[in-house]
């Protein structure tokens, strides 16, 4: 079995995987682009090889080069992380063809779940309810889609069949605006995935986005590790996740968990994966899609189950039997994850790039930070904006929220703007605290400009600080003049002094 793992990724997830490997005594190989020579995953791995220029298509998407490096360096396995090549069945197949272990599902399962249209028909055949829409058929023309749309009903969603992460997705409110939005979705899908195919899905109102983590071994065992609540999104990007969901009771969890395991079995799934559901206000749930890889938000499940998912991935890839049966999985406490992005929360969440001048990460009991950056590292525009994941555990949801509040307040990142203030507002939001939110909450019922009443007195403090900074700047400006004078001869000093006091 393999003793050396190549990690075909960068950023926090590459660091996360390296840590798991080292803790299992496995050696690690990093790959990196020219922009990432100083990145943490390169520094921490046992070996590191340059892939190419910064642009992903010339580096982290170069599956051929990566397999080549794996073979030359004696890696026995490749872990793809998430994003980049993680859900490319052709890459997974090429890894296997090269005689290496792919730490993830079989290529057939990636393919079946990767085409969202195929995925829908596959799980429907297994008796699983999907979100109503264009069932089972890919490659539909615009004319077909425009004809089917009124039968599904508006509002509906146009989604890329190869999609993920909200790319190539458009919400359509009426038949009139559909042609333009179809075109935009196809264009974005083509640009993002090299595949302009789209399908339609009914837009379920007041829905929650809830997903189940599953693990499947090579010996026929499939278990789930409970749910993650991922409803807090902005432009279809998840921002904050929690486990368990305040919306899911034991009965619903058992039902949904069983369906999640069935969906995984339907594609003969192997390794870690996630089944995403939409849940309506009546607790009715619909299969949305399956992510055939490690998920960004996997740590919250780790904190409530005590299971290290990445280590389980490695064990499964080494052909081990799962160490847990479903009845061994117990949920303890509550976990929240805030995705800390280099985005200006006060300026329309525009990405922010630059060198991190200072980073003081929160720590202490119940706090975990997964990151790939450090003070002195440069946040470049080439990759996504995720700086770190701040994960807090508490005995109860209340404790987890209070802990997250203090952790966010402790977190100092200087050099780029971040969305930490956004998360602080969420943690103060009465709706969030009450657990009453859905996928539209952030965009429709949340504002960064609202000031909680108990924070109104801070305006005065801000005014004092601004005055003190202004005062200090004017003082130090005049001090520089005064300091100068000591270096000059007396007659100069007199002249300058007189000019200043005129």
């Amino acid at each position: 079995m393999f003793e050396k793992v190549l990690i075909a990724n960068r950023g926090e997830i590459a660091v996360r995987i390296i840590r798991a490997c080292h803790e299992l005594g496995l050696r690690t190989i990093a790959v990196y682009s020219e922009a990432d020579r100083a990145a943490l995953h390169v520094r921490q791995a046992d070996e590191a090889y340059l892939l190419g220029p910064a642009a992903a298509r010339e580096s982290y998407l170069r599956g051929d080069k990566i397999i080549d490096i794996a073979k030359k360096s004696g890696a026995g396995a490749i872990h793809p992380g998430y994003g980049f090549l993680a859900e490319r069945d052709d890459f997974a197949q090429a890894v296997l063809d090269a005689g290496l272990v792919f730490i993830g599902p079989r290529p057939s399962a990636i393919a079946a779940m990767g085409d969202k249209a195929v995925a829908r028909s596959t799980v429907t055949a297994a008796g699983i309810q999907v979100v109503p829409g264009t069932e089972g058929e890919g490659n539909l023309s615009d004319d077909d889609l425009l004809a089917i749309a009124p039968k599904i009903g508006f509002p509906l969603l146009v989604k890329a069949t190869a999609g993920g992460g909200g790319k190539g997705m458009r919400e359509v409110k009426s038949a009139e605006e559909m042609p333009g939005l179809l075109e935009a979705a196809r264009r974005e899908a083509e640009a993002s995935f090299g595949d302009g195919n789209v399908y339609l899905e009914k837009l379920i109102l007041n829905a929650r986005h809830i997903e189940f983590q599953i693990l499947a071994d090579n010996h026929g065992n499939v278990i789930h590790l409970g749910e993650r609540e991922c409803s807090l999104q902005r432009r279809h990007q998840k921002l904050l996740e929690e486990s368990p969901s305040p919306f899911v009771n034991d009965e619903l969890r058992t039902q949904m968990g069983e369906v999640a395991c069935s969906a995984a079995r339907a594609v003969d799934y192997l390794n870690a994966g996630t089944i995403e559901f939409l849940v309506d206000k009546d607790h009715k749930f619909f299969f949305l899609e399956m992510n055939t890889r490690l998920q960004v938000e996997h740590p919250i499940t780790e904190l409530v189950t005590g299971i290290d998912i990445v280590k389980e991935q490695l064990r499964i890839a080494r052909d081990r039997k799962l160490r847990y049966a479903q009845e061994d999985i117990h949920f303890n406490g509550w976990a929240l994850e805030c995705r800390i992005n280099a985005e200006d929360a006060y300026n329309n969440f525009l990405p922010s790039t630059g060198t991190l001048n200072s980073v003081i990460a929160p720590s202490g009991p119940g706090v975990r930070v997964d990151t790939g950056v450090y003070a002195g590292f440069e946040i470049s525009p080439y990759y996504d904006a995720l700086i770190s994941k701040l994960i807090c555990w508490g005995e109860t949801r209340g404790e987890a929220i209070l802990r997250m509040r203090r952790a966010l307040e402790e977190y100092r990142i200087l050099g780029v703007k971040t969305n930490i203030p956004f998360h602080q507002h969420i943690m103060d939001s009465h709706r969030f605290i009450a657990g009453s939110f859905d996928t539209r909450f952030v965009e429709e019922r949340f504002s960064m400009d609202e000031l909680e009443e108990e924070k109104e007195h801070l305006a005065k403090i801000a005014a004092v600080m601004a005055a003190l900074v202004t005062h200090r700047e004017s003082q130090s400006a005049s001090q520089i003049v005064r300091r100068d004078k000591r270096d000059t001869s007396n007659w100069k000093w007199v002249g300058r002094w007189e000019r200043m006091n005129r």
Binding site: A342, L350, D384, A463, V464, H471
Partner: protein, 165 residues
């Protein structure tokens, strides 16, 4: 030294005396104010109450990020206030406004043409960076005087995208 500060519709008069003594709206307070670790982070202990904020001076004023809340503060000293008050008419906003790229990226789409009249908040350009498409909005009403980029073009941070007049 006396400073007049404005945050939205709130105004505070801050007088800075010697030895950590200040007065806020004539209320005397002790202010121990220090920057931390040579960074634009400041620690203020105001009559025993401890606060910490990131503070940035921008073109439009001073931004104070305090407990997750961003305050845009205008600060004037006595001389500046006198000058402003003595000018008979309110200042008229005029001249060209350069709209710059807030980050490096690729121009994906241009929503306006030269000569077009735009309103504050209109999307003018879509810029892709960090795998996200970002809408650049007009910061005020105006006419597109010159367009300086083309769709598909790569731009650096702070590169001028268009000029609004």
């Amino acid at each position: 030294m006396k400073y007049f500060t404005t945050i939205g519709d709130k105004q505070f008069e801050v007088e800075i005396k010697a030895d950590q003594k200040i007065e806020v709206d004539n209320q005397p307070l002790t202010a121990d104010f220090q920057s931390v670790g040579d960074q634009p982070i400041y620690s203020l202990i105001l009559d025993g109450h401890s606060f910490e904020a990131s503070i940035y001076t921008t073109e439009t004023g001073i931004q104070v990020l305090l407990q997750g809340q961003l305050f845009e503060v205008q600060v004037e000293d006595e001389r500046q206030q006198r000058l402003r008050q003595s000018s008979s008419a309110p200042q008229i906003r005029s001249g060209d406004l350069h709209i710059k790229a807030p980050m490096p990226g690729v121009v994906i789409d241009i929503r306006i043409e030269e000569g077009q009249v735009v309103a504050r908040g209109d999307n003018v350009i879509i810029l892709e960076s960090m795998k996200m498409q970002n809408e650049i909005k007009a910061p005020r009403d105006g006419t597109v005087n010159r367009l300086r980029v083309k769709a598909g073009e790569s731009v650096d941070q702070n590169q001028i995208l268009l000029i609004l007049s």
